[in-house]
């Protein structure tokens, strides 16, 4: 390969590094994306100009089709469907790596040997597993596959056995590299493994799974790079592999969970919350009405809105924004408090509220607003649950224990809009509902808020 291409590949690797670095900080994120894009463009152009490529017809067709589909999906997809979209893209990337590895095998003049075989097998294994795992993740998030963790006996044992079989086949392939059947079987079994690994994970944990699979697809690209002795593949793949692992770790930490717990804990339903929720026997909760809420709001000077997953389920973001603007016209100070893991994906609430054109500077991160609850008249908890659950502070055996929560209980009045007393994602009952300053308003968030808006307008 000519020196010039290799230098260009180095430049594009550097652009990827700078891109990822910038992407991880809010101020520079867009620049980061542009840098990474330029890196990719450069790598592709250089590859096309390289002497190795003799036939352009197929390529052009492939690139055109791929670009068309990519643009179309990226344009069409709704903001809240982002995680599953990323999952599918990621799966495609993994599949491509597996395909390239197989194509390389096919076109090799001599039979592969030694380390080459190892990287071939790993490339196919990781690539295929990424594809099927990502597709299942997509299915769970899109509601095509049940979001419930699918648990069956001996699950981990079976997965471990399957992996062993795959590696065994790899070893056989090592001794008979001319026998392509081994490689294809590895491919098939890896596909099964991908499905089995992701099925037992709850739908709401899918963002973490996708991030992990993303890291895998990076490694698959790296393996392909080894097979082809192509440095830009090796570098970018390793880059994504390692940084993806770190990101996965950071995501787990933000949820106060370990990666093991996410992968094997079978936590969460992904469907609406609260299977197994229990109404706490002897305690009573009064159900208030929207009228009661409006009375409280009329005398309030400061209001903080705490959105949660339920607001997304009810698609009540627009009516929430409407209510907020009426309150602001009445001279009330209205702010939104965004918990880092509210909703089902990172940034879920920001995306949701941006969709309803809520100005960015009304949104406050937990740390910026948590001190202000105690001076607030009314807090509206809309379809949020875990992120305001005091069990996180005190109940040692709770899955929430240790997670910082929004201190809504310190406000004068806490209005909670949800459909029942059932727990949220973590399956933990919420003491807040029984607090003396709490007002439960049962019902779908969109309905409740709609009524509140009507009453406010009428007043």
């Amino acid at each position: 390969m000519p020196t010039l291409s290799n230098i260009a590949y180095l430049v594009s690797s550097a652009l990827f590094i700078l891109g990822l670095k910038n992407l991880s900080s809010p101020k520079t994120a867009r620049t980061g994306n542009v840098l990474a894009m330029s890196g990719m463009l450069l790598a592709v152009l250089v590859t096309l100009l390289d002497k190795q490529i003799v036939d352009f017809t197929h390529i052009v067709a492939g690139v055109v089709v791929g670009s068309f589909v990519g643009v179309w999906v990226a344009r069409k997809v709704s903001m809240t469907a982002m995680p599953q979209t990323v999952a599918v893209f990621n799966g495609f990337g993994g599949a491509a790596s597996a395909l390239v590895a197989m194509a390389e095998y096919v076109r090799m003049k001599s039979h592969p040997q030694g380390f080459e075989i190892l990287t071939l097998v790993l490339g196919v294994l990781v690539g295929t597993l990424t594809l099927t795992g990502s597709l299942i993740a997509f299915g769970k998030l899109q509601g095509l596959v049940s979001g419930k963790p699918l648990v069956f006996p001996l699950q981990k044992t079976i997965n471990a056995l399957l992996l062993l079989v795959i590696l065994g086949l790899g070893a056989l392939f090592f001794s008979a590299p001319e026998d392509s059947v081994y490689l294809y079987t590895v491919c098939g079994l890896s596909a099964v493994l991908g499905v089995l690994l992701v099925m037992p994970i709850g739908g709401a944990d899918m963002p973490v799974v996708i991030s992990l699979l993303n890291s895998y697809s990076g490694l698959a690209a790296s393996m392909t790079g080894f097979v082809m002795s192509n440095n830009v593949l090796i570098i970018s793949g390793a880059l994504v592999g390692a940084s993806g692992l770190i990101l996965t770790h950071i995501m787990c930490k933000a949820m106060n969970r370990s990666l093991t717990n996410v992968l094997f804990g079978a936590v969460g339903t992904g469907d609406e919350s609260g299977f197994g929720g229990t109404d706490v026997g002897d305690r009573r909760v009064v159900g208030y009405t929207p009228d009661d809420v409006v009375v409280m709001l009329d005398s309030a000077q400061s209001v903080i809105i705490v959105p949660g997953y339920g607001l997304a389920v009810a698609q009540a973001q627009h009516v929430t924004a409407e209510m907020a603007s009426i309150l602001m016209q009445n001279g009330v100070r209205v702010r939104y408090a965004i918990h880092p893991v509210a909703g089902r994906m990172p940034g879920h609430m920001n995306v949701l509220l941006a969709d309803a054109n809520v100005a960015y500077d009304q949104l406050f991160e937990m740390d910026a607003i948590n001190e202000d609850f105690k001076e607030t008249d009314v807090v509206l908890v809309l379809g949020a649950n875990d992120v305001v659950n005091p069990a996180a502070r005190s109940k040692k055996d709770s899955p929430l224990y240790g997670m910082p929560i929004l201190n809504v209980d310190q406000a004068k009045t806490v209005v909670i809009c949800k459909r029942s007393l059932r727990p949220g994602f973590a399956g933990e009952d919420n003491e807040l509902f029984y607090a003396s300053n709490a007002m439960m308003v049962f019902g779908d968030a969109k309905d409740t808020l709609g009524k509140i808006v009507q009453l406010l307008k009428a007043a």
């Binding site: 990822l20 036939d55 791929g66 599949a95 194509a103 996708i210 390692a242 990101l247 500077d361």
Partner: protein
Amino acid sequence: MGELLVSVYVFVLAIFVGFEVITKVPPLLHTPLMSGSNAVSGITVVGALISAGAGHSELATWLGVAAVVLATINVVGGFLVTDRMLHMFRKDKTTR
């Protein structure tokens, strides 16, 4: 130094860079970062282009073309989606 050894050197160093480059990401950026790095992992498109265009056997070419399509979707879709998300998080809403 042999071809393979060079690959190993490059791989190990890149792993170190990858581990160091991401330090503290606010949850807000988890999804964009995930999707951006996912787009980067679509670099496999380079391999796909070579497989598809090197003009070897029919089978290799078709495997390569399939890979080109999938990888291109990954790259193009990934970067665009990331950009859309980041656009969403901007303070200044006037350009929307």
